[in-house]
Subunit: 656 residues, 2 copies
Amino acid sequence: MKSKSIGVLRTSTIVLWFAAMASIGCGPQQAAQVSQTPASSTADLMKQRGLSEADVNAALQTYTPTGKKDEYITFASGGHGGNLIVIGVPSMRILKYVGVFTPEPWQGYGYGDQSDTILEEGSRFGKKLTWGDMHHPALSETNGDYDGEFLFVNDKANPRVAVIDLHDFVTKQIVTSTLIQADHGATFVTPNTEYVVESTQYPAPLGGGYAPIEEFQDKYRGAAIFWKFDRENGKIDPAKSFAIELPPYMQDLADAGKLDSEGWVFINSFDTEMAYGGNLEGNPPLESGASQNDMDYMHIINLRAAEQVAKAGKTKKIAGMDVISLDTAIEEGLLHLLGEPKSPHGMDVTPDGKEIVVAGKLDTHATVYEFAKIKSLIEQKKYAGKDAFGVPILPFEDSIRGQVELGLGPLHTQYDDKGNAYTSLFIESAIAKWSIKDLKVLEKVKVHYNVGHIVAAEGDTVNPDGHYLISMNKWAIDRFSKVGPLLPQNFQLINIASEPMQLLYDMPLPLGEPHYAQMIKADKLKPIDVYKPAGYDPIKDEHSANAVKAKEERIVRDGKDVNVYMTAVRSHFTPDIIRVKKGDTVHLHITNVEQAHDATHGFTIGSYNVHSSLEPGKAVDITFVADREGTFPFYCTEFCSALHLEMAGYMLVEPG
Amino acid sequence: MKSKSIGVLRTSTIVLWFAAMASIGCGPQQAAQVSQTPASSTADLMKQRGLSEADVNAALQTYTPTGKKDEYITFASGGHGGNLIVIGVPSMRILKYVGVFTPEPWQGYGYGDQSDTILEEGSRFGKKLTWGDMHHPALSETNGDYDGEFLFVNDKANPRVAVIDLHDFVTKQIVTSTLIQADHGATFVTPNTEYVVESTQYPAPLGGGYAPIEEFQDKYRGAAIFWKFDRENGKIDPAKSFAIELPPYMQDLADAGKLDSEGWVFINSFDTEMAYGGNLEGNPPLESGASQNDMDYMHIINLRAAEQVAKAGKTKKIAGMDVISLDTAIEEGLLHLLGEPKSPHGMDVTPDGKEIVVAGKLDTHATVYEFAKIKSLIEQKKYAGKDAFGVPILPFEDSIRGQVELGLGPLHTQYDDKGNAYTSLFIESAIAKWSIKDLKVLEKVKVHYNVGHIVAAEGDTVNPDGHYLISMNKWAIDRFSKVGPLLPQNFQLINIASEPMQLLYDMPLPLGEPHYAQMIKADKLKPIDVYKPAGYDPIKDEHSANAVKAKEERIVRDGKDVNVYMTAVRSHFTPDIIRVKKGDTVHLHITNVEQAHDATHGFTIGSYNVHSSLEPGKAVDITFVADREGTFPFYCTEFCSALHLEMAGYMLVEPG
C-alpha cells in the first residue's frame, strides 16, 4: 500500500528532529502566549468569577506566571502518608513528594536494590516497615540559619529518623533505635546540626521488652536520643550518638537553644499524671486521666554537659545505644523540670535565643520563659521541689517573664522579623499575632479550620523573614470540591507583612496529613540537574561499581546468576532482549547514559513487580529470580521521546 | 505546685469546647479576612512581582478564593506512581491522590484486610504486585456523556483494569487476565459503559507461555479484551467478558464509536513490521525496525457483532477468558484493517460519532476518516488487500475525508463545542487548533515542553464544553524551582474559548507521570461525606459484619485468636489496652462511630507495620500475628481534636 498522496515523513528525517528535540522543545525562544491580548477585562472577570478587590489583590500576590520561580520552598511532613512534601511559596504549588518511609514507584524509591537497602535499614525488631507517620522536618542549620544542605524528619509510629540530601532530594539514610517505642519530639537540630534530637512520646520499657502496664511508673520510661550528624559523610553516626533516660511522662515537642541558650534542649510533656488508660478495665480513658493536674513539666536538658558525661562513659548500653540513666542525669545536673501550662504542644525558642514560648492546649495563654532566669535558678539550685523520680523542679513564677492570653487551644508559635510572635489557636480556628516585648495580642485572623502547626518564612532560625506564614489546618470541611469521606487538609497562605494580616490562598493537601513544616529561601537550595558523570549511584552516593558505558553493554552468565549490563538512551535499552532460564537469578545493572536535563527513563518488566526510575546519569541495580517461565515485555515507563513506545524489549524465560 | 497566678482551664470546662468544636471551628460565621483592605495596590503588585496585563488576566481566570469551588474536576492517571490524581479546574489544585495499584497508607489503602484483598485480586501468576503503570482513565458514560458514577483505569506494565467508585473515591475492584502481557489501549468505555476496552501493546504468546522470539510472527499475538461492566453491582463481571485475538502488531490507543458509530471500536497500531529488536544480537533496535513501512494499521472492530459471536460460543478458553480467534474474527467479519499515518497515537472519534481523527507521530498531519465510508467499504467488501494473517485491509484513500498539516509530532486530539479540534504536537511543543469542517489550522499555542496527551472539558463526550484545555507536558526543564534530577511534569491550563488561545497556568505534578486525563463538570459528581450508618465496609460496599457500636466494645479470645471489637471517637479508642500473648493472631475490628463530616481517625500499632484510615462511619479489619513480645503503643494518626495526642493506648504482648 503506497501513500504518495499524504505527507509521510521518512524515519531518517525524523531522527534529526529527535536529536534536536530538547533544543526545539525547550529553547528560550518559547515565550508563553499570555503576552497576547487577554480574553476579557479585569472588571468582567471579577463579575464573572465573583472576585472582590481583596481577592484580586490576593491573586496577584500568589499567581506565578509560566517560567517564573517561587521565592520560598516549604518542606512539609506527609504524616501517615510517610513521604515529604515540597511546596513553592507564594504559588502554593506542590513541586515534589519525596519518598522517605513509604515506597514510591514513580521515583523508584524502594523498588530497586539500592533504595530498598534504605528501607531495610529502617526495619525494627527485624520487621521491614512499608510506611511511616512523618511529623517534624528540620532543615540543617549553620550558625542557627537554614543552610539548604540536608533535611531530617521522624516517624512517630516506628520511632525513626531519616536523612534527606537536598542536593538531589533523595533519602540517604534511616536510623532507628529499639530503645524507644514511639517518638514525637523529633526532629530538631542544634544550631550547627551537631545533633538531631528525637524524644519519646509514649513511655515503654527501654529496649523494647514487655512489662505489665500496672508497673508503668516503675518500669516504663521516656528517653531523649541525641543523634550525632556527620556532615562530611552526610549521614548520622549511631556509634557517636547517645540518649538520656527520662521519667515516664509523655514527652512532646522540643526545641534546641540558640545564641544565648545554645547547648541546651527544651522538651514539653503531658500526662505527668502517668495515667495509662484502661477504659474497658474500669479506668478512665487516657484523655481524662492525663488532664487531672494543673500543670505539666518542661524538661530542660544541658546538652553540652550531657555530651561530656556520655564521652566520659557514664552510660549503660540499652538496645545498642549509650544511655545516661535518669539517676546519672540528676546527679550530673543534666536534667531539670519546670512547670508549664496544661497539655503544652509548641516549644519555641525566640530568634534571639533569650526566651522560650510554650502554649498549652488546655490553657488560653502563651507563657514566656526567660532562659537567663532558668539558668540562674539552676546555678543557684533554687528548686520548688522534686518529682517522684528525684528530678529537681524549678519554680514556675521565678522563671517566666509573663503570659499573654491568646484564645482557645493555643498550639504552636512562629516568629517574624519585627519582634512579633504568631500562635495557632486550634479550637478557635485562628492565628493570633502578638508582641513578644509587650505580651499583647495585636490581631487575629480566622483560618479554615482547626489549625495545628504554623510555619513562617525562615521561622525557626535566628533570622526569621516575616512576610509569609502558612496555617496548616487539620480540617477542610467546606473549602474544596467534594472528593469523598476522606478530605484533604488545608494549607492557608497568609501575608503577615500586611496590616491587617491577609489570607491569600487555600491549598488542599491531596495526599498525607502534614504536621509540621519549615520554609526556606529558594535561593539557598542548590540541587543538581543531572548525575555526572553517568553511572552514579545516588543511594551509596558514589560512582556505581556496576555502571555501564555505551558499547560496553553485555550479558554475563555465571551458573544460575545472569548479570545484565544495560544502558538506556532515547529511544532504546541495550540489550533489548534478555534470555534466561526459569530459576535463574537475574541481576540488572542499568545506567541511563544521558546527560540532558530532564531526560529521565523508567524501566519495568511486566508481572515481575520490577520497576525503577532512571534520572539522567543514574545507575540502578535490580535483582530478582526468574521464577515464572514465559515471554515478558519490558519497556520505558517515562514518556521520553516521540519513539518512547518503541523503547521496549523482551525478557524470555525459557522452561528450566 | 499551685498556679493561681495563671489562667489554667479545668478539663470539665474544656470538654464542652471539644464537643462544640466542630461548630465553633467550622461555622458559616467564619468569613475569610481577605475582605479587609488589601496590602498594596494592583499597580504596586504588578511592579513588585513583574506581572504583565496578561498575567493579571490569567491570574483572575484561575485564582479561586477560600470557600469557592472549582468548575471542573480532572481525573489524571498517575503513570508509574500507580495512583489516580484528582485536580480542580481552573484553580489547578490537586484535591486528592486515590490509591489504585500502589498501596497508600494515608488512605490506609493496601494496609488493612479489606483493601488488601483488592490488591491481592490484582496479582498475576500468583505474584502480588505493589505498583502499576497507570495510563488512561475513563469516566463511566450514559448516552455518551460522563455520568460521574465510576472511573476505570489501566495498568500498562501488568495488564490490569481498576474500577474506582466516585461516590466515595475508593478503588473497589482490580481485574486482570494473563491472556495478555502488557496493555496500552485501555481504558475506553462504550457510550453506556456496557464494556471497558483493554487491548495489548506488546505481543506475546496468548495465555502467558514461553515461545522463542524468532517465532514472533507465528506464536506471538495481540488481543482486545472487552470487560463487561455490571453497573448494578459497580463491578466488572469477568465471566461475561470476552476477547478477540489480534495480529502481533503493537496495538495502541483506541476509542469506542458513539452515535452513528456506536457499537464499533477503533484501535491504532504500530510496528506492523513485526520487528522485535535484538540490538545486542545484530538486529536493529525496535525503534528503527518498527519505522520501516510508510503506514500502520487501524483496527476496526464490530463490537456488536463480536458480542453475538461470543454469546454464540464461537470462542476458545485461554487463561480463563473466552477468546474469539483471529480466524473466527475474519470469518465473521468482526475485524478489518485500514492504513493510517506512521506510528499513530491518538485515536479520537468526533463528538458526532461521524468521523475519526488519527494523528501519527512520524507524520505531520491529522487524518480524518469518515465512518460512513468505512462502513460502506466493509459492507461492499471493497478491500485494498489482506495482511499476512488474512485480515482484510480497507483502501485508505476511499475512507478518508482528508488531512490537515499540523506540525511536528502530532499526538492526541480533543474537541470543543464549536466544531474545532485541538491536537498536541509533541516535537514542536505546541497545541494546534484546527477546524474539523475546513481541515484548516486556525492557530497554535506554544507549551512547555513536549506535550503528550491533552484534555478538554468533557472532551471525550458527545457534548464537549470547550473553555478549558490542559496540555499534559512531559518535560518541565526550566519552569519550576529545582527539586533535583527527577522533575515534575507540567500541566498547562489553556483558555480555548478566547481568541487567541490563552495560556493560563503552569501546574507541577509532584508525584507520578500522568498520561491521560478526563475533565468532568464538578456538579456531576455527588460523593458522600460520611459512611452511614456507622460500621460501613467501603471495599465490600456493605455494612460490616464486624461493625462495633459504642458500649459493645469487647475483646474475645478463641484459642490463639484474639478478636478486638474497638470503637474510635474523639478522643479515645475503646478498648485502649489490648493484652495478648506472643504468637496470638490478633483480629482488630475497628469502627469510627463518628458521623461528623471530616471527623477522620487513623490507627497504628508501633513497629508492627499496622496502619489504617478511619473515615467517619468506616469499619476496618486488621489481622496480624503478635510475633514479638513487648509493650507497643497504639494511637490515632489523624490530628482529630485538641486531645488527639491522648488518643492512644497500649498493646501488651506477654511472653508466650
